[in-house]
Symmetry: C2
Subunit: 524 residues, 2 copies
């Protein structure tokens, strides 16, 4: 979706456009977006989550000191007297503020799908905007280790499977494993966060570049960097965990050992929840944000992977970002990272930053889905299935010379249908032409027409016509029904059509499975 | 809902509150709000409407010159370089901007439910906020007279009946009738809008006060005011229309006659759509906004009516507004008017203000539902029916001495339920106590418990317990089922419980009808 060039400015007229980095959501895009939100929300509710909704702006002091360098991207409201406010930058800080304000709530599973605001250089072709949606799910509360963490990852698989985005990988690591590793390799304590953020770039830069950043920019001893390099390329599943557990140099470090213990327990739980097949324990995953304290994760799909030439193993250096190019890819300062469609982790200290007593410290673990990126991936596939509106019946009329238009009769029939909860429309012209009425119905893919004719009406009859029937079909020209039975008959037909389409779908799936079995008779 | 006093400020801590005039939506309020939105959205979709979503801020010039004096209430974004923007003030101007930007869209039924922003003095106890929801439905496009207008009013009745808000009245009038009336009575052209806005106050001020405003403040000839007074007290249905049609002084005025003609046609259509019983043709209805050009309407319910002492017929003057009192009732500058829950009308010129050619002129008719006020009315009634979350099954465990907590087994059972789409939860404690697990389930009104015991698990069995069964019920202590049949059995029971509740409801209704028939045997 390239940005639209629909600007125009007439004599003394206003600049007819939306602000830079924002867009109007309309038409089928809007329907697809809602379907994505509904799929995600259904999963959250299946796990007992509830939603909260916070104001679009917060007191500026609530946001201050939470986003490091990125604070310069916060949108401020003008000072028009009264409180100083800013638009929210994400949904996590408002959630932490809400938890701190409501100390009686000691535990909650909450989701929040809403727009956030960043004064970034928009690269709209990459799906990055100044106003964009975030979709967050978090579990707050004091629980036994790794139980909420495991459920969050299960929820993640249910969401991604439900959205039908194709294959994906959950990259996982642990802040304590990473910090322990840096200690073991000899990184000075004051350099740990800086080195960690360099390691995080390994998903889009080759090791040589990252090493250079560590040693030249950040002044790390090259021997220490090389030692780090031995470990951070490792990835795997339980095999990697077992390998690390055998290394006594590593396990003698308290942080590292504690992180490994968490990871082992988490793997046990994820086995039961059938999440392990999706997992990649990846020692290079570091995540940019400072506030994570435990496990961290990021979900990548093939469709969302960075373009060739920027990959982990590539020798080609990434194109440097031109600060004057508004379309340069700045995805790396996005909160979910390049090529990923969701990310999160455990943050046990954030709520405590707002609270004024130890009681106010609420441990949390959460995930944020990049819904705009998910939208870009899902759009092409969903576009075919989507209708312009949800109407099931278009009520129309036709007649010969002296045709009155039957507007009151069309209205009467619509009233009957609406009363029965049937989605129906009629033309707002008194004497509409029949082809125009059919065109309106076709434009939105309305499946049924009810056609009123003057002669038929006198006999108390109307015609039901299913749209799009093939030539030669017995009902191609419609069937007459008594007006008194119309509602009942149309409901029966809508339901039958839905069942028929479901049946055809089941048949298609069955055919694929059968073909599969034929090719490999050992399969059940 | 009085505003919460949950502020606190510790040592060096931030001011822990939301900005003035905003609120967090949480808990059951959030569930009720969503139910209201869903009910409304279902009606809109039944009529073929689609939704669009515009940015929360617009270029400031888009909003300039649209709201008259109220422009001072617009929230501006700070000038941080780049475009100058403001938060949207309503949903109508962004819709008009969008129509002007998309000239290929010549007709649309669109709805939009979203927050708007006004730097008003909040009177939170009255349900008025600085950040609040609007819910707009509009039909844009060139159609035959009164057809979209009639459908909008039909939609209004479906929404209000669907929300079950009790009895309500649709007050209706026509800008041309009103303007014609003022011409006939001798109001100078340059005073028409000012006199119109004085007349609009008749729903909360007695005629004497309105007359005083006209003559003393606005310099109208007292004889002219008295002539107006004869007409604007009139209200009725088709009887009033017939009465006005007979008055040749009135019908000789072009504007008045044209308005009456519209109204007559509209009544014909509303008869068919079964809306007439709700209608009150009210010559005192004027509506504040300047941009209306045709019929105008406002919906009042008993529950939303202004308090006694402020009514139309009252002799007691209204309490003057103290500009320093943040809680003073300023509902009269609200876009939907005091005591009303929805309002709207036809505005044929607004889109043209943005367009730079005659082709860009798109006539529109619409309605805005005051969802915050509807929320206040519906809340008490809905609160009883609402559960804390939507979970149907709480999976729990118990055991005697040496109880392990069965956490993996509880997780396994949840996985089975989630896989089958059943909404389920388990405690995130490794060894939770049974009473605590039941308390968690009860808190959210979860209808079923699945209880795992170590002995039962060995036999491959679990217990299903329906919550809240009366003492002595055969299944009060639950029933054992095979684990392999759990999912099937629990789905059957959830569905049976829902049917049972529906059955009980039908029985209740049937009883009322039967009692009614017994008292009056002539009824069918």
């Amino acid at each position: 979706m390239p940005p639209k060039a629909k600007e125009s400015k007439g004599k003394g007229m206003v600049n007819l456009k939306v602000p830079k980095g924002t867009k109007d959501w309309e038409g089928k895009d809007m329907v697809i977006r809602d379907k994505i939100f509904n799929t995600i929300t259904d999963v959250f509710k299946r796990h007992g989550a509830v939603t909260i909704d916070t104001p679009v702006f917060e007191l500026r002091e609530v946001l201050t000191g939470k986003y490091g360098e990125d604070s310069k991207l916060i949108y401020d409201l003008a000072d028009q007297g009264g409180e100083i406010c800013s638009l929210r930058y994400d949904l996590t800080v408002p959630f932490a503020r809400w938890l701190a304000m409501n100390p009686s709530i000691q535990s909650i599973k909450r989701y929040h799908i809403a727009k956030v605001y960043r004064r970034d250089q928009p690269a709209m072709t990459k799906g990055r905007m100044r106003e964009f949606y975030q979709c967050d799910f978090d579990i707050a509360g004091v629980y036994d280790p790794m139980l909420p963490d495991a459920e969050i990852l299960r929820i993640t698989t249910e969401v991604l499977d439900g959205l039908n985005l194709g294959s994906y990988t959950i990259k996982i690591n642990h802040r304590q494993i990473l910090d322990g590793l840096f200690q073991i390799c000899g990184v000075p304590t004051d350099k740990i966060r800086a080195i960690s953020s360099a390691v995080d770039k390994l998903d889009k830069s080759p090791w040589e570049d990252v090493r250079k950043e560590m040693t030249e920019e950040k002044g790390l001893d090259p021997a220490v960097a090389d030692k780090i390099g031995e470990y951070v390329i490792k990835k795997g599943g339980r095999d990697l965990l077992d390998e690390l557990l055998k290394d006594e140099t590593l396990t003698s470090n308290t942080a590292f050992a504690s992180g490994l213990k968490d990871m082992g327990l988490l793997f046990d739980y994820l086995e039961i929840l059938n999440v392990m097949p999706k997992l990649s324990f990846d020692l290079s995953l570091a995540r940019g944000l400072d506030y994570y304290t435990g496990i961290i994760y990021e979900i990548v799909t093939e469709a969302s992977a960075p373009p060739a030439g920027k990959g982990h193993r590539s020798k080609k250096p990434p194109r440097p970002i031109d600060p004057n190019d508004p379309d340069a890819d700045r995805s790396n300062d996005d909160s979910i990272g390049i090529g990923s469609i969701a990310a999160g982790g455990r943050y046990d200290e954030l709520v405590g930053m707002f609270a004024n007593s130890a009681k106010g410290r609420v441990p949390c673990v959460g995930i944020s889905f990049g819904v705009d990126r998910i939208f870009s991936i899902a759009r092409a596939k969903m576009l075919e299935e989507i209708r312009g509106n949800e109407v099931d019946v278009f009520v129309m009329a036709f007649g010969g010379k002296g045709f009155t238009g039957l507007v009151k009769e069309r209205m009467e029939v619509c009233r009957m249908l609406w009363d029965a909860g049937v989605k129906a429309e009629f033309s707002h012209k008194v004497k509409p032409k029949l082809p125009q009425q059919f065109a309106s119905a076709e434009k939105n893919g309305v499946p049924f027409a009810v056609v009123l004719g003057e002669d038929e009406m006198k006999e108390g009859k109307v015609k039901i016509k299913e749209m799009g029937l093939p030539e030669g079909h017995a009902e191609k020209n419609g069937v007459d029904v008594e007006l008194a039975k119309l509602v009942e008959e149309i409901k029966r037909r809508i339901s039958a059509k839905n069942t028929r389409e479901l049946g055809a779908l089941v048949e298609d799936v069955a055919k694929v499975v059968l073909d599969d079995v034929k090719q490999d008779p050992t399969k059940e």
